[in-house]
Every structure is written in C-alpha cells, then in structure tokens.
Amino acid sequence: MIKPFLSLFLVLFLLLVVILVHSINYNYTLEKKSLNEIVALTSTASLALSVGYDKSREIKGSRSNIIYPELSTTSPMEFVYAQ
C-alpha cells in the first residue's frame, strides 16, 4: 500500500476513534435524569417545537395522523354518542 493511502486510512481510523470516544464519554444518565425531572415536575413531555402561536406545540392528542395527514383517525368521542 502506498503512503498517501496509509495516511488516508489513518485519518478515517482517527475519525472513528473520535466518534467512539465521544459516544462513550457522553453523559447519558445526566440527560435522562434532567429530562425525567422536568417531565415529573410539569407532567408535560411534548417537544419544545419552535412553531407559530397559532400552531399546535403538542404532538400528543393531535387528531391528525402523522404519517398520512389525509387519513382521518378515530376518536373515543365518536363512540360515546353511540352508547
């Protein structure tokens, strides 16, 4: 193998090492703890979407289907009246 290729593979290897070190050193527990604390305190876990005032920030409770927005979803309310 010629020298420039050896150095290229070395660079690629170093990049992979950087990724590995970063993912190992990342404090997953602290992030999980902080998020769980804020959810437990506010009982709210919707994403802080940066949307306009007239648009819904809540993902949950939305009646629209996320994958197929044209497809209407059923709601428990539709069965209450039938009873």
């Binding site: 290729f5 990724i19 993912s23 990342y26 802080a48 996320i66 309310m77």
Partner: protein
Amino acid sequence: MLNNSFFYFLTLQLYKEKSKHLAVVLLSLVVIFLLSSVLFISSSLRYSLFETLEAQPDFVVTKLKAGEPSTTPIDWSDELLEIYGVSKITPRVYGRYFFKSKDKSFLIVGVDFLEEQSHKGIENLISKTDIKSFLSGNNMIVGEGVKKFLEENYYKDSYQFLTPKGEFKKVDIISTLTTKTNLISNDMMIMPQELAQEILGYSQDEVTDIAFNVINPDEWQNINNKVLELHYDLRIISKDEIKKSYQNLYNYKGGLFLSLFIVLLLTFSLILYQRYNMVYSTERRNIGLLRAVGWSINDILKLKFLETISLVIISFVLGVALAYIYTFIFDAPLLKAIFLGAENLENGVAFRPVIEMGVLSSIFFIYAIPFIASVLIPVWRVAITDAKEAML
C-alpha cells in the same frame, strides 16, 4: 493474486487516477452525510422522548367544547379519585402566552409547589436557588430559549405579563433551567399554579387538563372505559397513544429523505454506468494491457471490485463520521430547524448520540450494491473482449 504487490498496484492505480475518483467520492459523501444526519437527528429525538415515558402520567383527561379542548373543571379530579385503582391525580395548568411585538410565544406551566413531589423535583432542577424565596413572591423559572429571548428584549430579571383582565403582572425570573432539558423546556416558564391561572385567565376552579396514573397496567382499558362514562364531553389520552406518536415521530421526514436518497442514488448509478459504459479509450487500453500481460478476466474484475469498494468505504466512513460530528458535536445547525421548527424561539438543543446500526447498514448496502454493479458490469464487458481489440 491478493498479495502485497497487488495491493501496491491497486492503491497506486487509485492514487494515479485520483482526480477521476474525487468527483464520485465527493458526490457520494454529500449524499451519505445528508441522509445520515437526518436519520441521526430523528433517532436521537425519538430515543430522548422515549426515555421520558417512565415519568409521564398514564392518562390525561380534557374537557371538550365544540370538539376542541377547553378548560377542565377541577372537580373532575375528585370524581377520578373515586375510581378504584386511580392514583397520583395532577391537575395541570398550561397555555401559550403571546409576545405580540416580536410575534413569539412562550409556554406557561403552572406547578403546584405545595405538593411534596413537585417540591423535590424543583429542588433537583435548580439546586442553587432558595426554594423558600422562590415560593414567597411572584417568581418563575424559565427555559434557556426564553431567558435568551427576554434578555435580548431588555427583560433581564423580570417580565411584565398582561393578564386577560387588562392588568400588568410583574413576575421575577429566579432561575434558568439547564441546557440538558432544552428538548422539552426551551420555551417554558414554570411558575406557581395560582399565578399561571391568573395570567392565562382561568378561574380558581379551572385547569387545562387532569393527569393521573393507574397502578395496575392490566386495568388500563377498564379504567379508560370508566372515565369515559363519567362525562360525555371528555377526551382521554393514554400513554400508549403517546408512545405510538413517538414511534411515528419524524418517520415521515426520515422516510422523505430516504426516498429522495434512493432517487438520487439511482440517478447517480445511472451516470456511473453510462460513464463506464462509454469506456474511455485510456480505461479500455488499461484493461487490454492487463489482459495482454497475462491477467485473467477474474483478476481484472477483482482489481476493479477492490478499487470500487475502497471508494465506497472511504466515502461512506467519511460521510457518516462527518454527519456524527455535525449532529452530535455541533448540534446540527440548519438541519435542526427542519425537525424542531424555526418560527418561534431558537432552540439550542444538544442531541443525544444515538447510532442505529440497522439503519446505517441498510444505507451502506443500498448505496454500495448499485455503485459496484454500475462499475463492474461495463468493465466485465470490456474484459471479455480480445486484448488486441480492447487496446484499439
């Protein structure tokens, strides 16, 4: 054949024709970088939200008026308490507050700090703040996005809310939430429940909705039915529904990018195929020469295969590594806006590193197989012709 001299020849060949390969590598790198970044962001958000499921309430009940969520009477919590198996009933007060002059909005969340649970939670979140002084006056804790926005607008220590009664209410900012919670709390203003009710225009016996838990998960359906029977105008949302919405979260955006990627890849393969099919005279002569000096068709195909796979691996590793650095170290500037929006407050969220190996290997195979095929098929067609004819 796969000895040191073979590899020396292979790398020499690649190096000699580096300008020819550079465009292919760069194009592949951009495609893989974009697709990997999108998938990294989507899986990171999904994983972070999934981890909050544990702390979330099992059910949320809201009153509906004309088919839309309306304020819920706080008395409903007493009715819920009478159902056997229901626990931890939490009336929630929250709503959006509009900052008219800048066309931005905040999420006001009212918390009952007199509850022991909330007391502990707030202590953990803002360890440096004195809880007593926080509860003694009109104070609030704000998310990082809110703090930054208010500071830019000269509200450094307090903010004047305009209540629906037309009165101004001054609330002091006592602390800012940590960056780690930005995913949820970036636009939040956490304050005592009574204060939130006053600012949002609720009466003392009105809340936004009521959250509750059910101790036995096997009883979920049963409790769900019992709650539905309480009032005709209520809506109940279970944690399962939230879980489903998290599972589908951003799938469509990731899917959109994936379909664009496949179209792009097919075009890319077609260009490559055309390029090798036209067979440049130098390329043709090279293959002819190798055949003339005694290389078999198999050896030539091996050489071209290894040449192509080297390019595939280099561009794939570079693309994925750069996407990782861009998403998880630099927090995906620009692309982040596609997922979190950019209409309201700027969100300085830090993405949690998540690598889904299944998705990455799929990208690799979807990318590598057409790439290799579009190079090897034309090369094979030249290699099977007579060496003399190929060199003409």
